[in-house]
Symmetry: C2
Subunit: 338 residues, 2 copies
Amino acid sequence: MLSERRLEVLRAIVQDYVGTEEPVGSKALTERHSLGVSPATVRNDMAVLEEEGYIAQPHTSAGRIPTDKGYRLFVDKLAGVKPMTPPERRAIQNFLDGAVDLDDVVARTVRLLAQLTRQVAVVQYPSLTRSTVRHVELLSMAPARLMLVLITDTGRVEQRMVDCPAPFGETSLADLRARLNSRVVGRRFTDVPQLVQDLPEAFENEDRGTVSTVLSTLLETLVEETEERLMIGGTANLTRFAHDFPLTIRPVLEALEEQVVLLKLLGEAKDPGMTVRIGHEIAHEGLNSTSVVSVGYGSGGEAVAKLGVVGPTRMDYPGTMGAVRAVARYVGQILAES
Amino acid sequence: MLSERRLEVLRAIVQDYVGTEEPVGSKALTERHSLGVSPATVRNDMAVLEEEGYIAQPHTSAGRIPTDKGYRLFVDKLAGVKPMTPPERRAIQNFLDGAVDLDDVVARTVRLLAQLTRQVAVVQYPSLTRSTVRHVELLSMAPARLMLVLITDTGRVEQRMVDCPAPFGETSLADLRARLNSRVVGRRFTDVPQLVQDLPEAFENEDRGTVSTVLSTLLETLVEETEERLMIGGTANLTRFAHDFPLTIRPVLEALEEQVVLLKLLGEAKDPGMTVRIGHEIAHEGLNSTSVVSVGYGSGGEAVAKLGVVGPTRMDYPGTMGAVRAVARYVGQILAES
DNA sequence: CCTGGCACTCACTGTGCGCGAGTGCCAGCC
DNA sequence: GGCTGGCACTCGCGCACAGTGAGTGCCAGG
């Protein structure tokens, strides 16, 4: 176990390094922080911290920088979550109010988060698996062609064309629409399959084929769209620390375009509260020199999706966590209202 | 007017520079191309080309690189559009087939285009202004709350909540739905306002308020969504020529995030066929060292939106133009089928 | 009008050197 | 035992400097 003062030294190193982006030495540390001890003592502490793997030197005769393990300790034990100031809160609310639809909410959230944290923002669309059905609509496009429209409680809309095996009358259509809605409205998407299982039996022989087709399209939609979508913004912020890793920026951009990677990353964070993953804790290679701060958000008490930011491991964790948490809360409120 | 050989020299310079990314000198030129003349002659030609502003030297005693004006001449007079090879065509078709909805078509197109050209791809969603109405749906959410769903012929779906001034019965709802659809289905979005203008008069006094509210929401949607959305991909490709402008990559990324800029850029290209804008021909400052190749695409003969790529002015114009044109054609086919 | 020759320019590369921040270690002090 | 001041050492960084070579402009001759 590290002594109180050594932890304090680690905290000082992290803070200084995040601020200056340069390896921090013992002398500078004692000058910028009132640790009450001399540089020589700090050097001894640094030696211990280095032995334990919390800090490292880029090369001999240079200052120290925190390792992933060092950041981990800092986040877990040394740093709190910096709350937003009232003006910031107002700015967030103003920015998010006035969104017209779900796409707009997500788009605004991404921009806001990127701006607040000056990093890359990622916002997942509310997942269908945890959503409930608000309405299912069936429209006749042609004698044997229907359009299926699915509306979720979070305002998401999905539609599919359905080619029917046989013409389908208006009355049958109205019947199916009514039966379908009475069964699934307000229910969770995951429950839908068993709720509609026996629906074809309620119809005349000639219509059963079409009903089955519609149902299987509906179920397909549920499966396909369960793989969530997400929106990314603020990639220009990557260039802010590009001088740090001018070559590492490409794998990061590539990873960001591989939405699968990010979705997996967000999905892995089991804790519905805040999750911070640092450097090599992230399995994907391209993101080994980045950290991801994510948190769940939702319209009710329940989280329906995640949002977060991707930045260099050398980031302002307290500030970033504060911004992410605050934005998630307000987005939740907005979704609950609509 | 430049002589035939001088044009040939310019073409050789552009081709070599695009290939090697390095200023090209007179000796190297004569070695790599069979121009039939000596380096000294080429030097004289180069001096003329430089005087006319088609090429420039980064510094004295270095080779020449084409200027924006040089690329312009190359594109207009010297370069054709390189057609895709049959295997490439098949690959395009395979990649685009199997898209399940409009979002998917756009997403696949972006990825495909980015991969083919190894540059940044931009695809505009089919614009509402040139689309026609496939269906308008009204759903009752609560006694005084409706959901308006708008479906376009290109498969785009927009929805809005409508808060009614007074409760609205199911029969009135069905009536409004029927009247609305009979008037606007198959019509262009731009014609909708005058088509529904007198609709409230057909209803009872008590319902007129609601009908008006619905209509104004519909019209609002048309206006709001006329500002088109777009999808961007392949930003990781920016790093391929980042060594060229490691500092210029940031304004480019910023410009790409400002979708307004890109939309304006795409909108400016009046020619429904291929448009190439080179370097300083682009008004936006951040894109001054890039070129944009764009083309309209559409489900029928008519272009409903644009797609294209953003890359360095030093790009393979014939190849890029070929890829952009081919992709636009196939996307048009896909849209026509759905 | 083209060509070979020639002197000139200048970015680029590698080397050597001094500077200084930062370290590790040690002896002494509390 | 822990803290401190002192001191020698390391080594990355920046700078000056010279050598190299690709490329140029110009000119006289074919």
